[in-house]
Symmetry: C2
Subunit: 120 residues, 2 copies
């Protein structure tokens, strides 16, 4: 899944310092969103079909309902999810949230390779 | 650049809870590596051709030589970079480090879109 790093190296090599700085800052913005505790877990829960509050809560071990309520509000503010009211309240990923999840999901392959490297 | 989130959603939908848990843990492993202060900046510096210690130091604002030396050691332990000795000491990304940088670099597009969304 990671693949084609050389294509990305090529992209970087052609850029000036200012543009690269802007990109590194943007990477930081993404990291800030991802650092929010439980964000990755909540995104995954919703993607997996646990879209109601109680379903999300039940699917994530160690998460309290108070913390989940706060987290869902932050994720709505960050435009990652929307709360839908019909037929009963549930949460859905926005396109922006889906794009983020796609990025995050690619991390699992690297993380597995990393664990193998560190153990091996 | 993010693109094809639906393909990724499809991948997730077919998986059982145990496999998904393993993947979420692996995402956490990747995040742990990325959370290391200056890691993203040092990867970017090396990709941009600042491969000698002094070049890396000069290219990252606010980084001391002591902290950089520690960070380079940690990144070597994490198999992200190697120290080469010839003709003069310099640092190079491993394939594992390049794969990580490719992941990280994709975050810049999302981060830029996020900033626009938050400001707009």
């Amino acid at each position: 899944m990671p693949a084609a790093p050389d294509a990305i190296m090529g992209l970087v090599e052609g850029k000036d310092q200012q543009e690269l700085c802007r990109e590194v800052l943007a990477i930081g913005d993404t990291m800030d969103v991802l650092r929010g505790k439980w964000t990755v877990e909540v995104l995954t829960a919703i993607v997996c079909g646990n879209t109601h509050f109680k379903e999300i809560l039940a699917s994530i071990h160690g998460l309290s309902d108070k913390v989940l309520a706060e987290r869902l509000r932050t994720m709505q503010d960050d435009r990652l999810i929307v709360r839908c009211e019909y037929p009963t309240p549930y949460y859905s990923l926005t396109n922006h949230g889906r794009d983020l999840f796609a990025l995050v999901y690619r991390m699992s392959t690297w993380g597995l390779a990393h664990r193998r490297l560190m153990i091996g």
